[in-house]
Symmetry: C2
Subunit: 429 residues, 2 copies
Amino acid sequence: MNKTVNIAIVGLGQIGNFLYNEINKKRKEIKIKTGKNIKIIAISAKNPKKKRKFNINKKIFFKNPIEIIRKKKIDILFEVIGTPDGISKKIVEMCIKKKIHVITPNKALISKHGNKLSKLAEKNKINLEFEASVAGGIPVIRTIKEGLATNTINKVYGILNGTCNYILSEMENTKDNFKNVLKKAQYLGYAEQGNPKLDLNGYDAFAKVRILSSLAFNKKISHAKCLMDGIENIEYKDIEIASQLNFRIKLLGITELIENQLFERVHPCLVKKNSYIGNVNGVMNAVILNGQPIGESILQGEGAGPGPTSSALMSDLLSILRGNIKYPFGISDKERKKPKPYDIRKYLNSLYFRFEVKDKPGVLSLITKQLANYNISVERLVQIPDHKNKTASIVIITHKSSENNAQNCMKLFRSNKYILKKPTLIRLL
Amino acid sequence: MNKTVNIAIVGLGQIGNFLYNEINKKRKEIKIKTGKNIKIIAISAKNPKKKRKFNINKKIFFKNPIEIIRKKKIDILFEVIGTPDGISKKIVEMCIKKKIHVITPNKALISKHGNKLSKLAEKNKINLEFEASVAGGIPVIRTIKEGLATNTINKVYGILNGTCNYILSEMENTKDNFKNVLKKAQYLGYAEQGNPKLDLNGYDAFAKVRILSSLAFNKKISHAKCLMDGIENIEYKDIEIASQLNFRIKLLGITELIENQLFERVHPCLVKKNSYIGNVNGVMNAVILNGQPIGESILQGEGAGPGPTSSALMSDLLSILRGNIKYPFGISDKERKKPKPYDIRKYLNSLYFRFEVKDKPGVLSLITKQLANYNISVERLVQIPDHKNKTASIVIITHKSSENNAQNCMKLFRSNKYILKKPTLIRLL
């Protein structure tokens, strides 16, 4: 690499704009740390006139990002648009083929096309870096690839979506319902105004789980169908009852190898109140790794927002400037085998069920009988009557039961006239 | 570097021996990740016949480690002897001058001679790596140098000594005294049999603080005199009273920049029971970094023992094998300025005092008057009488007071006939 390094930033939303400012602010420091003079020579975004926190240099603005790659001599490009396909994919592919290093926080793109893109990057001997795609304020990707390089990791889990963690924490703190707290999260900028669904339904966390699995287990990114459940159906009632039973509800992303089969999932979990993960609240993210010989390793930090995300993007930049050419996923593409998927139906777990029922004799016995038919045995049971409406909430925590039995049993409950709505199912950690 | 890389290990105690076995076990994996064939071609230790957990190859054993450097063609040497001077220093210097990469967990050596050794390493363009010198199971050095590369860090603190954390946790759990719990820690291998002093008096944690400061603030390692206090004088009584006041006692290492002046210290701290750091118990280590734009970043893991330490040594090995030539402290020696020391006497902090006194009228007023003379004002006061011995424990938590006043006031208390022993002073976090 030359002593002067030309940089382009494509996408100037909150993150791209913050990054643009960071790079300009830290040019001297970067020179000291890497010996390189960096220069942003091209930027692009949908709207050049949009109001931004930091001013941009309009002289280097391109309306069409493809033009940058075609016309300018770029060494490193930041792709900060963020679509899983379309223009993001096109730009990244073009860059790699033209031997331009790529840095991106785009988890949707990497989790969907990471296998193909990393193979292409390896072939072209350039860096494809995506530290910011998982938990920006936590350098977890670098930690797995380098800091824990020769550990045998068997499980990675954690709080990977700050929006959901904020909403669940805030519901507990304010005793308010999901809808109102979501509005507050949107107002504060923690949840997207337009379509917050990708955070709430687990999709965002799931993309991160896919990337973490691949890195931790040295496998190709899986595209098998997996267990994904969001927090949209969690009611304050669940949080309250969980609390009485000494639990908190957290949306967790979990990936592990069970008999060398990959088991990935994202769903709300009942975690013990006095556990570490039970005390990571608000917009914080946390990742827990179990490996040998390291034992348990915990990383915690802010998950999103322009600051932490830029921190991760800058660490990728410095890595490239220092000349650390690496395989995007730590090992060569040809060594990354396709993972065998674990049959989730076999999974044994304790479960929390909440049933809203008519307060009639025989309803409880009907439920417990049905559970027994599916080999699901009750560990704890709480019944909370609502005398005014002649209804009751029945909460059951089960002994370990198979996912298959739980799902089949759930289906039957839906067609029972005494059960007023679809029961809530939350898995225990 | 050639495709075949020759390795030597000097020192075959618990860690060296575990590492020897790890390297042999993971040769294939290392080949996949780095493309290099590694081979241990020389080992050395005081006693070739010592009983070790893993068998060593006696054909490559050297009685004198210096012979290895003189006679064999080594690419990378692990220094795992661990003395701050003497043979460890000699070996490391010889290697660097012969352009042999060095990896070491030797915090005593690095904190004492790191400035000189890193300059030498830079001059000879080889790697001097010491990830294992601070909190083995936590890749904190790599995280500061790379993962958080362009953050402006202003404070790093944490639990850096697993022995002390185990003892304090176990005293709380078993209500037993320091002496008995120390014996248990020695029996379990958490504290050294012969001379556990370097762990208990804060020296071990302090060496780590020195290294962290240097990395986090991009300064030379400081050799200024600093605040260092151990846990030898903590009694169960302190833990009990702290608990009643909703605190736990933790030995913390803390380093921060106050008006660009370096303030390093190791001492027991009263931390809130419901804080994150108050819940890191047993032999666990934790490091908390405050930086911009990252915010607060937390890392937790096992701090010592052959497994976590080897994990860190192996991460250094892979870094070298991947060809990541770097400045040992992240930036060039000539950019690392000598830090200005902060005048500790100015430091304002809340304090916990415990006085053991004769149960006589006027003693309490005497103490509070003396405190008032030194501008130390009382926030909370607890008096616990011991009727049998006609004594009492007086515990005072103060508002923020200067370290200077606290120290001067302490001296006077020592010469008071109603105060039965040197008062205990613990700082609040």
